[in-house]
């Protein structure tokens, strides 16, 4: 049975991310224990648009962390809550 990270790499191939973005995203996700990636595999399987959403979310968070920008972080949290509440 393929590892979750391998399933994710397959999903990434069909995403709108550039090749570099795909490689970067897969490399970062591969840091996690494979079992922790199960919900990500499910999410990408249900709706591939989540690949781009989560990648963009990651980049925004990296930028907030790098700049230690609490306001930017709070804006991200607000957007996340908004996105989740529309799914309820």
């Amino acid at each position: 049975m393929p590892l979750n990270i391998e399933k994710i790499k397959e999903f990434l191939k069909s995403s709108s991310l550039t090749e570099n973005e795909r490689e970067e995203f897969a490399a970062l996700l591969s840091h996690e224990n494979d079992s922790e990636l199960e919900p990500i595999v499910e999410l990408f399987g249900e709706d591939p648009l989540w690949i781009k959403k989560l990648y963009d979310n990651l980049v925004r968070k990296q930028q907030a962390f790098a700049g230690r920008d609490k306001d930017a972080w709070e804006a991200i949290m607000k957007d996340e809550e908004g996105a989740l509440s529309t799914m309820e």
Binding site: N33, S35, N57, Q62, A64, A66, M87
Partner: protein, 188 residues
């Protein structure tokens, strides 16, 4: 591992900060939290914990897709936080009061980066087959892990967060490293 409909078990699914990873190497959250309160400076470790806690509570009882999305958002936080820790380490920042264990981990982290850079170089120059490269990588990586123990595993994971390493480590070397990290992961 699946999430049941209408049941929040996001906490149990989300990645935890592990000893020695850049995420935790950022230091304890309490002192930074105090700093953040007055100066609007983001503490990545604290921020990730708060996000996990508050969003998990708000989304408790929601449908499965919401739980999956939440798990994804929180996972992105831990990944982003790890990247930030790695960036600071690359810039040469040090903790003000490093313990001996932390200093030793810094050395192993540095060795892991240099080790993977050497692996990348060797694989580019090697004319062996895919299988031969895998065997070579396995032997080298196993030796590194056995030499440094659990700290070595964490250091290799941390080293993978550097774009100049993660972008160049491909094929048999990457495949072998991921396999070994799985094999030696304490969560396994």
């Amino acid at each position: 591992m699946f999430i049941s409909e209408g049941e929040s078990n996001v906490d149990s699914q989300l990645p935890q900060a592990e000893s020695g990873t850049p995420l935790e190497a950022e230091g304890g959250s309490s002192e930074n939290a105090t700093e953040a309160e007055g100066e609007k400076i983001l503490d990545p470790v604290q921020a990730c914990r708060e996000e996990k806690k508050t969003l998990s509570e708000k989304m408790r009882g929601q449908k499965k897709k919401v739980q999956l999305a939440l798990a994804g958002f929180v996972l992105m936080s831990t990944l982003g936080s790890g990247f930030f820790g790695a960036q600071r380490a690359e810039a040469g920042e040090r903790k003000p009061e490093g313990t001996k264990a932390e200093e030793r981990m810094d050395v192993i982290n540095q060795q892991a980066k240099e080790f993977l850079r050497q692996v990348i170089k060797d694989h580019k120059e090697s004319k062996g087959t895919y299988s031969q490269k895998k065997i070579g990588a396995r032997d080298m990586m196993t030796l590194f892990i056995q030499t440094h123990g659990a700290g070595g595993v964490e250091a290799l994971k941390g080293a993978l967060q550097y774009p100049q390493i993660s972008n160049d480590l491909k094929g048999p070397a990457l495949e072998t490293l991921l396999f070994l990290l799985q094999q030696y992961s304490p969560h396994k």
